[in-house]
Symmetry: C2
Subunit: 322 residues, 2 copies
């Protein structure tokens, strides 16, 4: 009924650089989208004003605000319970920003907000490969490693709204463990994020003299994209980097499974473009390390949402749930 | 209303040796209890029959079966979804045993079943220190390390009913990691269970010639109880064993917190009798290893239920939820 009277939701993918708004229907089709520069608005009030103005044309095309059921926002350090962004390191707005309420006041529709990885999980459950699943874990492999955990069909927000930081599982307790951006040592994120993969590349290149296309790049400038391109050309060291990354991820996922015994893990982000180069060692390590009673149970899947649209779709999916 | 008309529930703590039945009121008082030997009944039908007969006198005292709202069972490898015990290594009954349905048929009241650690979590939420909490993690420190995870006020059973095996978090990935009973290496359980503590004792005693009361015991016969007694007498090595165990547990809990951001961890079992000897290093390691955004958030608590009654109370608490 509601999806007929109000057939659309708005999704906002709020990133450190760009903010992308989209109007989305119940099947996950983006009917219109627009964007503003996040950093252009040091005052969050101006940001909200600019966002609403930028959205107006696509809202009009959708038939006006009366056709919009709600809005969902995926933002760094987003807290679902309070609708606030809390001390996000890569945004200009400091402290606690009540962004959900601010958009609600301007638009007159209910607005929900959560972090990017949780939004991705809701998106996957609403429009993607996790449709119909009640227990799964979303792992986002980007600049960091994020996660969104679904248990009993509900996102796990925990007691404070910040649950699901699986990128900070300690996977190396030895002295040589890598330092993570969080200040702790040995976190999964320090190995399996884009920056972690670049670091693995530098380490592997240093260890030997074996030839590699990656040697053509200044080690300091190496990125995970370079590794992906080299692997695509059959570079052996690049393939080893994926082998190593996949193994660590698979082992970590085996450790996540003991928590919520999910039906699936869904991987999202640039690294997954490597396909089997990443997923085969990941699956192998998962199978080797999973507790025997869980063996063969969870599927390891790559996100079903188009990369460029996934973040907006994920955010928008929150809009149906309000 | 229901708690007036049917003021009691039955709890069954089904262990490898003993099966303890109790009739419990809404405040968590055990109004009557009885027990049978689990191993005396190779056929589960005889076991159910014997259990029902043993319970009859205490049911009569409670005013008859009409006063009973339901029954809860805590059992090894218990599956909440199916009400079955699945291939429990320490029981005579093999395969899948539909124990909930069997008691339901005999008693005519609804019966729920789950594993011991999950039952303990429900017990703590109903009668213990987790009353009113919606997000907490129960850690049981016994022969093994078990766990029951509560998210949004609900037990996490996962996609198959077997979620919450936190004792099998890999905490040591080095070559020297201890072998766990599950066949994998480096599990928390191999260090922080009663048997893990005894092993730590043997290792520490071997490493040096320092005097210790524990040297009076044949290393093969050393138990965690011996360590507890020696620590109570001020034995330095025994205290170090708790220091080591608490540190590993605190570090592991910091890793659990990133999953569900709980309001509290509740510890239960023999090891917790050591009190501060265990809890101080545990708290210290937790504070040192917790992700900064979660710092100071979760309380680390010892179970509020009396040890001898806790298992029956935990199981009985399931009876209110049916």
């Amino acid at each position: 009924m509601d999806k007929i009277a109000k057939p659309y939701v708005i999704g906002l993918d709020l990133g450190g650089t760009n903010s992308v708004f989209g109007i989305v229907d119940a099947r996950g089709e983006i009917k219109g989208s627009t964007a503003i520069k996040t950093q252009a608005y040091p005052d969050v009030k101006d940001y909200v004003q600019a966002g609403v103005e930028a959205m107006q044309p696509i809202i009009d095309v959708a038939g006006g605000i009366d056709k919009i059921k709600g809005m969902g926002i995926g933002a760094p350090n987003g807290n679902y319970y309070t609708g606030t962004i809390e001390n996000a390191a890569n945004l200009l707005w400091k402290g606690s920003v009540p962004l959900a309420r601010m958009f609600e006041d301007k638009l007159g529709v209910p607005v929900a907000l959560t972090n990017d990885a949780n939004a991705a999980a809701v998106g996957e459950m609403t429009y993607g490969v996790a449709r119909g699943m009640k227990d799964f874990i979303m792992i986002t492999l980007g600049t960091g490693v994020g996660s969104g955990i679904v248990v009993n069909g509900q996102l796990v927000y925990g007691s404070d709204g910040f649950a699901g930081e699986l990128g900070h599982l300690t996977i190396d307790r030895t002295e040589n463990a890598r330092l993570c951006g969080c200040g702790r040592k040995g976190c999964l994120e320090a190995y399996c994020s884009a920056t972690g993969v670049a670091r693995t590349a530098r380490e592997l290149l240093e260890k030997s003299d074996r030839p590699s296309l990656l040697r053509e790049i200044n080690p300091k400038d190496l990125t995970s994209l370079d590794v992906s391109i080299a692997a695509g050309k059959g570079d052996e060291i690049a393939k080893e980097i994926y082998e190593y990354t996949g193994k660590l991820l698979g082992d970590a996922c085996a450790n996540f499974a003991i928590f919520s015994s999910p039906e699936a893990f869904v991987f999202f982000g640039g690294l997954t473009k490597a396909g089997d180069l990443l997923m085969k060692p990941l699956q192998r390590a998962y199978d080797e390390n999973i507790l025997s009673s869980f063996k063969g149970h969870a599927k390891l899947l790559i996100s079903g949402l188009k990369g460029s649209e996934a973040a907006v779709l994920g955010a928008s999916a929150l809009g149906w749930e309000i």
